[in-house]
């Protein structure tokens, strides 16, 4: 699209910020060898040419690079953020300058955020790269007639896959969807290593506090929670895990962590980090158990894992440092980071570039797969051969070689006789 057209159709904060956004995208490009080699190559066959692709993922530099590659492959890309607090205005400006239509502003109100997503829906996307199913569920709910035109959706997060499954159970998933999150090259790296590292570094930077010796309460021991626990230990912290699923709880126990019910775990917690993918993980019910000067942060998809509304109902919120809000509950100081939004994204630059190189390679190849094959409606898995190819490409960029399965090993695996 011509820049003037893109600018006319877009709703962003300030196109004057484009230069800073360009710098950020250039840094991402440098550290995204898999997207650069594999995805660019795969996308060049013309399957995406002329396709309207909506990219609704946290709008920062990594996402912008993905959007750029899709546009380069001939797709008509429209981008919006998946969370108003994670949108970076400079990156939006750079995308518009690159001729891509963008509907996103940092700090947009919930109404503005929804309006931006509905504007994206109005462009009639054929393929949606979604995060938290934010666009997909709005299309199904508010613009069902547009759902019939969808050729497919590919979903980034655990939360979004759960929502798509709920749509499927309700009989509303009438188009193909790929659970990109469930690709091994996504959830085995992005969730534990990406969010694990960046949530911890963001918390430390936002607070300028020490982790060594501190008690961390990790609420939820999924892929993200496991990464948070490991990195908290890496920073010298001591970890208590809170989990509802007995198998995951047992796993946490055997990984060497203390496992306890939330209320009990809160008694001595210096930091509480939620990663449950659900809502209301830390609610008013357990406020009495919080320690004075506890730091609450969320590393899950929703802004609602920590009940900030309940805190605000009982106390005047005071921002004591950028990104740190104090509430006084029963004479105790409770600090919430970035209003309970995803701490690594709203309070930092999000997952590391190299990790998103993997995740977005999955997304790029998933979008390409949707455009070039005839998938049945409903949830589909990401093809294993593509998943392996991404991993192999990443390994080769790292200079790591692999052995091949030997003939004897292959035969042994295929043999059932004793």
């Amino acid at each position: 699209m011509a820049v003037a057209d893109a600018a006319a159709r877009s709703r962003i904060a300030d196109i004057g910020l484009a230069e800073e956004g360009e710098r950020r995208i250039a840094w991402v490009a440098r550290h995204s060898p898999v997207l650069k080699r594999l995805a660019r190559n795969r996308l060049s066959d013309g399957a995406l040419r002329g396709k309207r692709v909506a990219v609704v993922v946290h709008l920062e530099a990594k996402t912008a690079y993905l959007a750029t590659l899709l546009a380069e492959a001939g797709a008509e890309v429209v981008a919006a953020g998946s969370n108003a607090l994670s949108t970076q205005d400079s990156v939006c400006a750079a995308l518009v300058r690159r001729g891509i239509e963008v509907h996103a502003r940092h700090g947009a109100s919930p109404e503005e955020f929804t309006a931006d997503l509905l504007d994206v829906a109005e462009t009639g996307p054929q393929i949606v790269i979604d995060d938290g199913a934010e666009l997909t569920r709005r299309i199904v709910e508010h613009r069902p007639e547009l759902a019939t035109r969808l050729e497919g959706v590919t979903e980034e997060t655990t939360t979004g896959v759960a929502r798509l499954r709920a749509l499927q159970d309700a009989g509303l998933l009438t188009f193909p969807a790929i659970a990109a999150n469930n690709a091994r090259c996504k959830h085995m790296f992005d969730n534990p290593y990406g969010t694990g590292q960046t949530a911890l570094t963001a918390i430390m930077r936002l607070t300028n506090l020490s982790a060594a010796g501190k008690r961390f309460c990790i609420v939820g021991y999924g892929w993200v929670g496991q990464g948070l626990a490991r990195r908290a230990v890496g920073y010298g912290g001591r970890v208590t895990v809170v989990e509802l699923d007995p198998v995951q709880a047992l796993r946490a126990h055997m990984d060497g962590y203390r496992v306890a019910p939330l209320a009990e775990a809160l008694d001595d917690a210096d930091f509480v980090i939620t990663a449950t993918g659900t809502t209301a993980a830390v609610t008013a019910q357990v406020f009495p158990r919080l320690k004075d000067r506890v730091i609450l942060a969320n590393a899950g998809h929703h802004d609602r894992e920590i009940d900030v509304t309940a805190l605000a109902a009982r106390s005047e919120p005071i921002e004591v440092r950028p990104g740190v809000t104090r509430y006084e509950i029963d004479g105790k100081r409770v600090y919430v980071l970035v209003d309970g939004a995803l701490v690594n994204i709203a309070g930092g630059d999000g997952n590391p570039v190299e990790i998103m190189d993997l995740s977005f390679s999955v997304q790029a190849l998933a979008a390409h797969h949707l455009a070039s094959s005839d998938l049945p409606p409903g949830l589909n898995t990401f093809p294993d051969d593509l998943d392996r190819e991404i991993a192999r490409t990443k390994l080769s960029t790292l200079g790591i070689e692999l052995d091949e399965e030997s003939e004897a090993q292959r035969q042994f695996g295929a043999e059932w006789r004793t």
């Binding site: 710098r23 440098r30 290593y193 930077r205 300028n208 020490s210 010298g236 630059d349 999000g350 590391p352």
Partner: protein
Amino acid sequence: MSESRIRDASLADDGERKIAWVAEWMPVLNGVCDRLRSDGGLAGRRIAVILPVEPKTAYLAAGLAAAGAEVTVAFQGVMVHDDVAAGLAARGVEVFAKRGSTHEEELEYFDRVLARRPEVVIDDRADLIRLAHTTHPEALETLLGASEETTSGVTALRAMEADGTLKVPCIAANNARCKYLFDNRYGSGQSAVNAVLDSTNLLLAGKRVVIVGYGWVGKGMALRARGLGAEVTVCEVEPFAALEAYHDGLDVAPILEACATAEIVLTATGVRHALGIEAVEALPDGALLANAGAVDDEFDVPALRARASETRQVREHVEEFRLADERSLFVVGDGVCVNLSAGEGHPAEIMDLTFSVQALAANYLLQNATNMTPAVHALPAEIDESVAREKLKALGVRIDRLTPEQESFLHAWEAFD
């Protein structure tokens, strides 16, 4: 009488918020300053604080001032947070510090500090003490002593003592156990690694990280880098430290070899050009360089700049140096102490220990310097231990004491049956 030189007084509110925040996490220093105020020993005494101007140092300076001292603060430009400088000035402390100040301005600031005729200096890298012994000998007439913050500063003071230059008693605050065991290791370890990751938005897991220097800072960085999934190689010149790194399960290699495959190089040697230009030249394309040591030029940024065909700022705090052979190297935080140049410095709770040591060392010098020789002295062990006990108390951690029987065993030399 305050003639502060700061960048922008209107930033005072932001600075004050940051100072107020760290105050909540420095319970030991709060107690120390309260006691110093009530015993009156600091009343009217002149103290110069030469430390990076960030929230914790500001709180130390403000605490000493609140205890009655006349405090003057100065520091060089890269490690000055202008909002904090403004906040501190608004608390009535005299501050000479601007981010991005010129060398001439910095010399002028130090002149102004020395013109206040401080009785005690809380110094960093022995900067002010060296000036007092070279270009400003008149300052020595009223100077009682200094307390030194860094390993490299203590090394310089010992050199001055050895050649008979040192004219005032100095306390090696850095060598207090409550300082180096925590500040250098856990403070720098966490905040230096964090600053590099925050500045670059890159992943550490699986990365080849080279740590040059396995002193306390190097140990802390190695511990945290490994904790975040990196593959760590240590470069050392000192055989004991190298052997320690080996037994800590880390790779040990000569610097040229280690640099050939390094993705991130972190220096913490206290030595100028510890990472020479040959080692920098050996780095592969894309390598990141950061310094966590107190010496500004542990790797030779000017030489790198001279060799670069092009340089540009690729992100805030990250500068690219493109070399003639198309390789690019990236320097994080200008090659000066990265946790301060690209972050807010050490965690507040760690500086609670360090600055309690400093406040007590300054007080000790004010009361006792006239009876001390012009040499490098240790902080009295009982003061060091009192800080550790106060910190444990604040953390709610209880410990045992020796029983009389155990105590007498430790002091007996006779054979026991």
